[in-house]
Symmetry: C3
Subunit: 354 residues, 3 copies
């Protein structure tokens, strides 16, 4: 949760040193500073928020933590404890988080095609619970759809789900009992089967066949957690780092109640899978609108060094009059070299001259 933020700026911080009186431009708008006395107070608040990033908060996001299975013969056994914990969404904002294993998102489960998978859920919630593995192929009796495929596990009860993994898949596990309460409060975790292949069309354009890193990005907007990226609100969100020429594969998941158009500033992206199924024909994006329940897998190439903002483009989900907040983080692109084949095949993405 602790990162080193590289700010590369050629312009000196100089708030309040130039500029005339507010409203000189047109005479209108004076006096409306959203609770501040003037623009310089507003700027100071915004600067303070920006500088607080990335802030340390208690409560570990499991988006990019892999849950280790125990082996029971040929079975990979994953144990989840459903429980309520205190969760720090952003510095100082403590809420009741509903979790698997105390993490929001829950720890990522990753298996391979052919694996025998057993998921044990110990229900220590104050409510009953059913586990649904959204986007993962299971027999109907393992689908966790209370009251049709099972009755829920009551508080204190333990429930077992078993199936053989068939991939590739980009799924998400979450409750299917009281889901309107339990999910927004924090109960969701990535469930991956196999690695998502890079489409041949992108390899032909000079993208490496294997991404440098793969990241899960879970969106939420409701319940006790509210507007958040991987369970945290800016400045408590986590930055991601790649080099120029490296690629980052992002699995987006939306576990909230409304679509969020996630915008990554500079690195160019391609959608390479929808709901866990690889696309023959990837499509380009810098702003990907992810609706509740959808999963998009996007491959980004680091193209230019710097701190590149990454946020929901619903402006009130990224900022308030006090500064950046909620669904905002950054990709830090460090110096490196674009692959020759990439430049040859993507002339419009050649290195920018500073």
């Amino acid at each position: 949760m602790v990162g080193q933020l590289v700010v590369s700026s050629t312009q000196e911080p100089s708030p309040g040193t130039t500029g005339g009186a507010a409203g000189e431009g047109d005479g209108s708008g004076e006096g409306d500073f959203h609770g501040f006395n003037d623009w310089s107070e507003m700027d100071a608040a915004m600067l303070a928020r920006g500088q607080a990033y990335p802030a340390v908060t208690s409560g570990q996001s499991g988006a990019n933590v892999f849950l280790e299975p125990e082996m029971d013969g040929e079975w990979k056994v994953f144990t989840l404890e459903a429980k309520v914990v205190e969760w720090e969404v952003e510095p100082g904002r403590l809420v009741e988080g509903w979790t698997y294993n105390g993490m929001i998102p829950a720890p990522t489960i990753k298996v391979s095609s052919g694996d025998k998978v057993r998921v044990i859920v110990i229900n220590n919630l104050p409510m009953s619970h059913s586990l649904h593995m959204h986007g993962i192929r299971v027999p109907n009796v393992m689908d966790g759809v209370d009251p049709y495929t099972e009755l829920p596990a009551t508080p204190g009860e333990t429930r077992v789900y078993e199936f053989t993994a068939q991939g590739p898949a980009v799924g998400i596990y979450h409750p299917h009992h009281g889901a309107d309460i339990q999910i927004p409060n924090g109960m969701f975790g990535a469930f991956l089967i196999d690695d998502m292949p890079v489409p041949q069309k992108l390899i032909d354009k000079g993208y490496p066949a294997t991404p440098t890193k793969t990241v899960n990005m879970v969106l939420n907007d409701a319940g006790t957690i509210g507007l958040s990226l991987n369970g945290k609100s800016f400045p408590g969100t986590e930055p991601y780092t790649i080099r120029v020429g490296e690629t980052m594969m992002v699995h987006y998941f939306n576990e909230g109640l409304m679509p969020h158009p996630m915008h990554l500033h500079q690195p160019m992206g391609w959608v390479i899978a929808k709901d866990g199924v690889p696309l023959d024909e990837p499509w380009p994006t810098d702003t990907i609108n992810v609706a509740p329940g959808e999963r998009y897998t996007v491959l980004y190439m680091g193209m230019e060094p710097g701190v590149w903002a990454w946020h929901c483009h619903i402006l009130t989900h990224a900022e308030t009059p006090e500064g950046l907040r909620y669904m905002v983080t950054a990709v830090i692109v460090e110096r490196g070299t674009l692959p020759e084949e990439f430049i040859a095949n993507n002339p419009q993405f050649a290195p920018v001259e500073d």
Copy 2:
């Protein structure tokens, strides 16, 4: 509206028999049962709602009822009476439904390319009315856009629309006068020209060239009807049945005021047409976000027997603290055999071992 619901579960119903006290897990969350005294009361309410499905309600959805034309020489004549009726959205919830022919959705009109089509609208609404055939190619004077292409038919008046059908098309007919009032209150019906072809790419993957069944699924969220699938709210919604190895083609339409991401649990889907135009390059989906006015045609293959939930993934559109509600139904997949070619071409979708 009456169905036989097959619940296949290996786990015995046992609400309230295990489990400790609420909140044992973490000590937080006690006392918050959304109006219930404890989790077991909540479970009982949820179970009762689940067991009420599929509930009989008065008022017949026309989504999958075809309106029979009368022939007048070479003209296929469809007669619509616009009128207000009492509509049972879900058991016991009676509202004022604005309809064509007393159905919500209105009965489906289906014609073939080259057909001479005449639609007669008798306006027995308390308001004026214009008929727009959204997504259907017509001469401008037949477009029903009050006050530009016509003035509306006043209450009691009859209006005639004529054109020659050009397909394929997946359209929807609805008012274009007071549309913000009349449409959410129930006035919308599928208008289809020809059958939508299955793309060659899917036939090559082992999908049959002709779907076993074709279903219209109209979404709404406003007016007197509110959150609903084909004019009904769970448990009044209708289940759909296919066998393993059979395909169901679904035309989704959104006549509400916001996008709805419709999630079908197990059967894998492919988007094969957008706004009624076939796609050369179908794309995969298990959660399809349908915005107001859009139409997506999705082809689903039954892959595993069982009761598979089918619902909007905006959680508050599918569930309340009292249980499942609103935009929820199910696809019941009965036993059958996956086509050999399908298994050969989709190894990840081979039969699951129970």
Copy 3:
């Protein structure tokens, strides 16, 4: 802002001349005329609104006005003054518009790949300002992301941004300081690099390689401006004119806070670029859902003469009980001839017989 609206109707205006009493159809619904005494008063209000289109309003939309650069050696220099002006959103509705150069949208900037581009921003707002060029490739220090890549220009201050253009690109320039306030209030302008190519697949279908016209369409729904197309609300919106057989390329941009599904009645459309990157595989649409921050480039062919409505399909964004309002305009298709190759390759789009 002044247009000639051709209304082609074969049906005589005759409000109130036929029709029985309100509610004859079913007996329900009487008395609810949303503030009107009866349907005929409602019709009269709707007709008056329809006839007011296209209305003259003060304040020039810059969506389709190109900002002329001054040359400074090899640099193309664009000067923007950020300032607050009085803005007439629709006839008689005057609001405080936050603008670049007094226009909403701001004037369009268009350059070519390889151009040296300098953008000078004079901040005459009552707040500080940073300029972000969304979707335009720039070095990180030119990205305008306060407080990471720069501190904002305070009121009265001037700031300079420089880069070399790499295209094609369909971007939008807007503030990145107090963006939640400044953008909805009107600060956004199209930023284009090069022309967007027509995909070979569409040329093969008979579409001309060069569009007859290219149009920017910027959506908004918040701030002082509210629900609007290119800064105006119906009937203050601008109509667009093409002939049968001509094509109109539309760059859609959403600078509001929610997705808007834009529906163009008759001309058939193809999405040919997403976020400024050309698609090898265009996809068909008559209703395109544009989320905040996204850009879709859609190519439309005029197919049938007439006045074709073009509006958001969220019904309350297009109409009120008083008639059409907000996100509504029209494409006027004048007489002309479809290309032979188009008809040959798109039999379903052959001329309609009136």
